[in-house]
């Protein structure tokens, strides 16, 4: 039995560049139905499509933390979205083992009219954590966030710092097997960021796995065990964090 928790095989994501292949009104849709019947070419031709990801194969073992680096538009976030099941791949497949907590954005699903307390339960459920588990960890979540005085205030009255701290605290306590993190560790003030970092560190040490996207190389050196460098949607280099991939990338 292997200990691979994320197995990505030849993954690709294609987008059509022109709107012609993505009709937006009923009229153009109906028209395209007629046209399609005649030309029998529903797929855009090569110069009208764009591969945000192509032939990506990666593996993450249990307890590892894979950092994705690359310039804007290199496909890092697309890869995280596919692994989080937000968008489907156009080719290839990925196998994900265990419960995933995706932190692509802090506070997704927070409702401004609800109190901090109500949002903790709602957000926890959206991240796949049963209510009884949240109830058990409730004090830890509140402690971590440091907003206990405002727990019964609607979050629309929160300062932005309080908001992200509470949101991050929920996400940090849902007890997933795999964390998928997109640049969200940089929330709150310095003290809170320190807290987040050490929390992710402890989570990893307890045998959980993670994929993180970050432009912060110091943070990557601190957290990641492996690094994958993406360029124009392809894996350009991959290896343990000591292997020099980071140095190549930053050079």
């Amino acid at each position: 039995m292997s200990d691979i928790v994320i197995d990505i095989e030849d993954l690709g994501k294609r987008y059509a560049l022109s709107r012609r292949h993505r009709p937006d009104s009923l009229k153009s849709w109906l028209r395209s139905l007629v046209r399609q019947a005649r030309t029998t070419s529903p797929h855009p031709s090569a110069d009208e499509e764009f591969w945000a990801l192509k032939n990506v194969s990666l593996q993450v073992r249990q307890g590892e933390c894979l950092a994705l680096v690359g310039r804007n538009g290199s496909g890092k976030s697309t890869l995280l979205k596919i692994l989080s099941r937000i968008i489907p791949p156009s080719q290839g497949r990925a196998r994900v083992r265990g419960r995933v907590a995706s932190l692509l954005e802090v506070g997704t699903g927070f409702h401004p009219e609800l109190t901090g307390r109500e949002n903790i339960y709602l957000n926890g459920a959206m991240l796949g954590c049963p209510e009884r588990d949240i109830r058990r960890r409730f004090d830890a979540i509140v402690d971590f966030s440091g907003v206990e005085r405002f727990l019964d205030t609607p979050v629309k009255h929160y300062s932005s710092g309080m908001y992200v701290r509470l949101a991050y605290s929920v996400a940090a306590h849902v007890d997933a097997d795999i964390l998928i993190i997109d640049e969200v560790l940089a929330v709150g003030d310095g003290e809170f960021q320190q807290k987040c970092l050490s929390h992710v560190g402890t989570t990893l040490a307890s045998g959980k796995s993670a994929i993180v996207v970050s432009h912060d190389l110091a943070l990557i050196r601190l957290l990641a065990s492996h690094v994958a460098w993406l360029r124009e949607g392809r894996v350009c280099e991959v290896g343990p964090v000591e292997s020099g991939v980071l140095e190549c990338y930053s050079a």
């Binding site: 249990q62 099941r85 937000i86 489907p88 997704t108 339960y121 959206m126 307890s206």
Partner: protein, 284 residues
């Protein structure tokens, strides 16, 4: 096969390859996320009545006003059904309570995915939960609104007959119909915003071709088959039959037509939703 790692390997593996899920698998997943449904419904109910002065009284006030206005327009101005043995407001309640639910639930369901785009772009749970929860919020209002009917029965000293045992079935059918319509339209609405214009317009017309303010008996016999194509006809007349002592006899044809329509819409909605659920974010 010894595991030296600190934590045991999780057993559940999810395959991500962009292929649509099976009905069974999807049902399973919906069940495992049932708490999200419950919390979204609770959230929307809380938000709907928070910061309102009359609070929960709105639940009864809205259908009551609709009944009063409908009675005035159809009963007093148009002079329909004044001679019936059953108190007129009871007949109207059986029409406007389901209509009010339908006319809210369908647009709410339709707009739900588009309104939660920021959520589905950032987190995964079965997407069907969003339209289902949106319709369920209106379903809660719908069920509470029947209290009005109960009060009216006491007021008029009216006692429903044995047919009332079928009341829950007609309510269930209406909830299934609204959910299916909500699921289907929510996906279509992501891609073609046209339906956002079309549906409210159709609902405005729909009120007049639905026996809310009058009964099926007002429609000439030869038009019944055509008229019954509106699935609400069978449900509303069925509700009247079940709550008003069998009123004008069991409306067999409309009930059968509307059952068939409900089933057909549910199948189409289910298939369409399953086929597009994985790529909803790309559609939008």
């Amino acid at each position: 096969m010894t595991d030296s790692r600190p934590a045991a390997l999780p057993a559940r593996t999810v395959l991500i390859d962009g292929s649509p899920q099976t009905w069974r698998g999807y049902w399973h997943e919906l069940c495992s996320f049932h708490e999200v449904t419950r919390m979204l419904v609770r959230r929307d109910l809380i938000v709907r009545f928070r910061q309102t002065y009359f609070g929960l009284a709105w639940l009864l006030f809205k259908p009551l006003m609709l009944m009063a206005v409908t009675s005035f327009a159809f009963g007093f101005l148009a002079g329909f059904d004044r001679s019936h043995a059953v108190p007129y407001p009871l007949i109207i309640f059986c029409g406007v309570i389901p209509w009010y639910f339908f006319s809210n639930a369908v647009p709410d369901g339709m707009n739900s995915l588009a309104g939660h785009l920021h959520v589905i772009q950032k987190t995964y749970f079965p997407r069907a939960i969003i339209p289902i929860a949106a319709v369920a919020v209106d379903a809660v209002e719908f069920l509470v609104a029947w209290l009005l009917f109960a009060f009216a029965c006491i007021w008029f000293g009216y006692l429903p007959g044995w047919q009332i045992v079928f009341f829950p079935l007609f309510c269930l059918q209406l909830m299934v119909l609204c959910t299916a319509a909500g699921l289907l339209l929510s996906v279509v609405n992501l891609r073609f915003r046209d339906v956002g214009n079309l549906v409210p317009f159709l609902l405005t017309i729909g009120f007049f071709v639905t026996p809310g303010g009058y009964t099926l008996a007002r429609i000439p016999e030869q038009w019944h088959s055509l008229y019954a194509l509106n699935p609400l006809v069978g449900i509303i007349e069925g509700l009247r039959w079940s709550l008003l002592n069998g009123m004008d006899g069991f409306p067999l044809k409309p009930v059968l037509v509307s059952l068939a329509a409900t089933l057909a819409i549910s199948l189409v909605a289910g298939r369409h939703f399953l086929a597009s659920e994985a790529s909803l974010v790309d559609l939008a």
